[in-house]
Symmetry: C2
Subunit: 663 residues, 2 copies
Amino acid sequence: MEVNPDLQMERDGATFDPIELTYIKDGGAKVTQRRRYIESLVCDDPDFQQEDPNFLSRDELYTSAVRRGVMIEKKILQLNITDAKEQYWFRDAAIRKRQGTAIALNNIMFVPTLIGQASEEQKRKWLPLATNLHIIGTFAQTELGHGTFVRGLETTSTYDPKAQEFVVHSPTLTSTKFWPGNLGKTVTHAIVMAQLITNGKHYGVHPFIVPLRSLENHMPLPGVTVGDIGPKMGFNSNDNGFLRLEHVRIPRDNMLMKHAQVLADGTYVKPPTNKLVYGTLVYARVGYLSACTDFLAMACTIVTRYSAVRRQSEMQPGAREAQILDYQSQQLKILPYIATTYAFYAVQRRSAEWYDRLQQQMATGNYSLLQKCHAVTAGLKGFVSYAMNSGIETCRLACGGHGYSHASGIPELYTYSTHLITAEGENTVMLLQTARYLIKCAGSALSGDVMSGQVPYLNEPIKEKCAIKSESDLLKLDILVDIYKHRAQRLVMEAAKKLHRDISEGQSQHNAWNNCHLQLLNAAMAHCHYITVSAFVGSVKDTKMSDSLKLVLTSLCQLYALYGIYQDSRDFMMDGYLSGHNITSITHHITSMLATLRPNAVALVDAFDIRDEILCSILGRYDGNVYENMYKWAKKSPLNKDEVHDSYYKYLRPFLRSQTSKL
Amino acid sequence: MEVNPDLQMERDGATFDPIELTYIKDGGAKVTQRRRYIESLVCDDPDFQQEDPNFLSRDELYTSAVRRGVMIEKKILQLNITDAKEQYWFRDAAIRKRQGTAIALNNIMFVPTLIGQASEEQKRKWLPLATNLHIIGTFAQTELGHGTFVRGLETTSTYDPKAQEFVVHSPTLTSTKFWPGNLGKTVTHAIVMAQLITNGKHYGVHPFIVPLRSLENHMPLPGVTVGDIGPKMGFNSNDNGFLRLEHVRIPRDNMLMKHAQVLADGTYVKPPTNKLVYGTLVYARVGYLSACTDFLAMACTIVTRYSAVRRQSEMQPGAREAQILDYQSQQLKILPYIATTYAFYAVQRRSAEWYDRLQQQMATGNYSLLQKCHAVTAGLKGFVSYAMNSGIETCRLACGGHGYSHASGIPELYTYSTHLITAEGENTVMLLQTARYLIKCAGSALSGDVMSGQVPYLNEPIKEKCAIKSESDLLKLDILVDIYKHRAQRLVMEAAKKLHRDISEGQSQHNAWNNCHLQLLNAAMAHCHYITVSAFVGSVKDTKMSDSLKLVLTSLCQLYALYGIYQDSRDFMMDGYLSGHNITSITHHITSMLATLRPNAVALVDAFDIRDEILCSILGRYDGNVYENMYKWAKKSPLNKDEVHDSYYKYLRPFLRSQTSKL
């Protein structure tokens, strides 16, 4: 394959070897090699060849998701891929990271919930059915009228001790389950979250296995109304569903009873701890960080390669049109997001380490890390997914007009990934959870407790001025971490004080909290930003690498930190910690850094190591042969099936003729 | 129709009458009444009833665009709607502001270009054909490899004096015309922008009428390869097309010759002025401002009404779940964008006035206003469309999960309107044009010229500190205008000085310009922001209205200005013009303003006066009956046609059975 000469020139001019960076990103050469091998099992397998999903109708998209889901599970069993990470790579490659499989929720939610919440006996019954796909399950929590606030769910599950059955019911329109993945047309079973009522008393939301469709003919069972919720902004291969239950009876044993139990006579037995549920949430969020980072990496890959190939306008009059990557305004759009992607890989690796430590601890019955991990991963999910969202859109718009075409791949990347902002905990709610934890810590610190984890800064005195001797000190990584630490420290403390003041002035606790949302969200974002900068700096400093790579990554890390200060200058300047003069220097540093990093831009995105088959972008092709393939792709548009479209005969010709006859 | 009680409560609690504000927005009660009448001609006409476009395939979407296009033109002729504004309302209502018509470009581009660039004789020939729709035209400028930089276009039109014909040709792959609307399957003719070559010399880009499809059978004419470019992020009812021309011959007379001419012997006659082309650009951009503002108004309407209806979480423990509009974090997302929408209506009205004045002037052969108008509308197009884009997305995300469903209407609003950022001049390029003008003005001002129009501030001395006596002065509208003026003044002057310094230190003019993009873009945005704040303040102060409305609009105007300062604090603080203490006060003012405006939120969006048929949103319905209609809509999803989807028989059942048989 002949590579576009402009792109080849970029690769030849890079000052480091991208594969070294790929190994770091993946966590070692062996991991990279294994990942590539697993991806090749999918990408080189004709059974996974697919029609361009851009040319399919919704119905065809869903059909392909069913076909793909079945194929994935067959192959995983055939190839005997048993490692969870490798299964993930396999599925991820098969869905090109962003197309649905109709059996996804069975693996992502149904089986893990069984593992986490079923008793040993229940596991023996249900797990083989689910993992061997005799049944297909999903997890049904969200309702038409109820989302993040789980306590507000309306579906009821009332115990009938005579029959030893639960009666699961949707008492109102707003209690209709809405959104669960694969629910509409695919699954046979769901774990339904419902308000438990037994012996006339309410015990809150608990999980119940409810069979939905006949295993004989797939028809909805009596009392079950189920269907697809209709087209969405993206992810249209997924049959997100609605579900209404009309007094549906299930055996008592279908309530998952690892924690709480309902005995045969209807007695409710309280769970010893409900903390384990939070462990699953932490795990899910660490996964989200990784997904968000991959999506941003894909968008950066597309826009950077295209910006090397695309030539537009004369920078010097009469000269050849310039590569758009040479314009400072274009570099400003792209390079900070490449830096952001590497920062997110670093913080994602760090979060995974926390989760591992948490798991080890929890296995010994010690939950002391749980609250911290829960708080920081909730906020990071918000912080990272917001940045991903605006990053992908910035990359798309930086592709100019062609970024609007599905040939670029970025529209789908955007419309798909943006659901991560609202799914599994809406971002504002997530960030407010982090804020609640930080405020609690601030209170402890103010009353003299020594803080650990990510918040020992709350014990430190707040400095008035950033301790730099010269403007070039602003490039030092430790100083940059300090700057972000100071900002988090100040904003958390000020939010805590404002809350305290408002309450002491007579506002109720809840009104004061609500009236402080602006400050609380700011503080939570600042904390997550600090964690991210510090993880990135840590990874650049502590990872063994060649000098040439270290030089590049150091610049990238500086750019990430400096650009963040530039964008959020208010927070750093308000108390005089940084001066206007400092910000001028930072602006200057940023523009120098853009020029420094420009020659390595393509190598930096090549290092993400995303196969063309997974990238699904004509603008982002590894070989840079953009225009010939755009044209080829356009010709395949289904509207071009016939030279003259049917609507001509039906509407256009009669009209044109009637107009002409008036002559 | 029964209105949701929560929404009714909002309307009952408003402190002003929305219709008064509607009249101001529209420019008078008579305009509103006429607009409503024209809209009713469409919305109440069964011929314009349509299937929900969300449930249609691309092919069906295009077919509906052809049908709609024909219907619109028939009815406009039947009803004898001749006023341009009223035709616009009619078409706008018929396309629900965002669905295509296959005949749109004929009216928007083909006819206006004929009017602007055809000679009187040519007009006599072509205008009746185009306006009476014996032919359908479009405008083909953009090429696969060439966008905003028009001089780089590659299509050639070479004069053959023997035959007295032009030979129009696509010499390279990258010269393929790409993107023109309605080009793919609909139009019969295009005005093709091509490099004129006569007597062996190149004369730059000129317009040529090229017949593309047979008027007999709609087949492409010899040498013409034309088709649809494939699916896009939005606007999929439009057959944006590609076009390759293989030595296609057209009569000499098909070059539009109002300005430049090619005589029979091939002699090129230069145009006396090419300034008139810019007049059309100004007109187009004023139209863009209006479209962007309407889209933002629609998104604000949807999220605000839904936030009154949606109840989620307990603000007080044990209390009824709160309307999400009551959360400060939700108000922070919505109210600044409602304010922005009204600010944009004000600046759009002001731009329309400039255009009127410009037209009157140009009619007398005086072009002195042209450059100014061109410069400011280019930047405003960028400034306004960026804010619209992030505003619509913020509104969508503020709808939570349901915002992701097409039932909300916002995804389509977003994926459609976002094309305005790149179309008709990519925003970065537009803003840099404004910057170029501002830098030129700064140079003149520095050399002592007295500046007029929007830039007399360049003659004023730069103040060191904002002249306020108390923190409440920051609420005074004149002071807010001054603050924005100061920022524009400082940023334009500093960019000019940096450029000058870099050049005097040895950088070439072009490198210096490129290395200054960050500062230039900032300066252009600051100028546009100043123009917008000042237009909004002007309209609040100068428009006659009731005291109750004036109170609300004053708060809204304060919120717009203060929130802008809060977001871009860096620019206002860097030189010490505003202090950290001022920003703290501004933050406090903003949160008070949110509480003040909250009770009028619904009335403020009701005043946009957008009919449900045009809004196309279940979440934004005027009656607030959201949930029952979400559920009804979901049931209509085409995937629900059969209880059991075909893919079950084809893929799922065989797989489930093969798995079960392994037991």
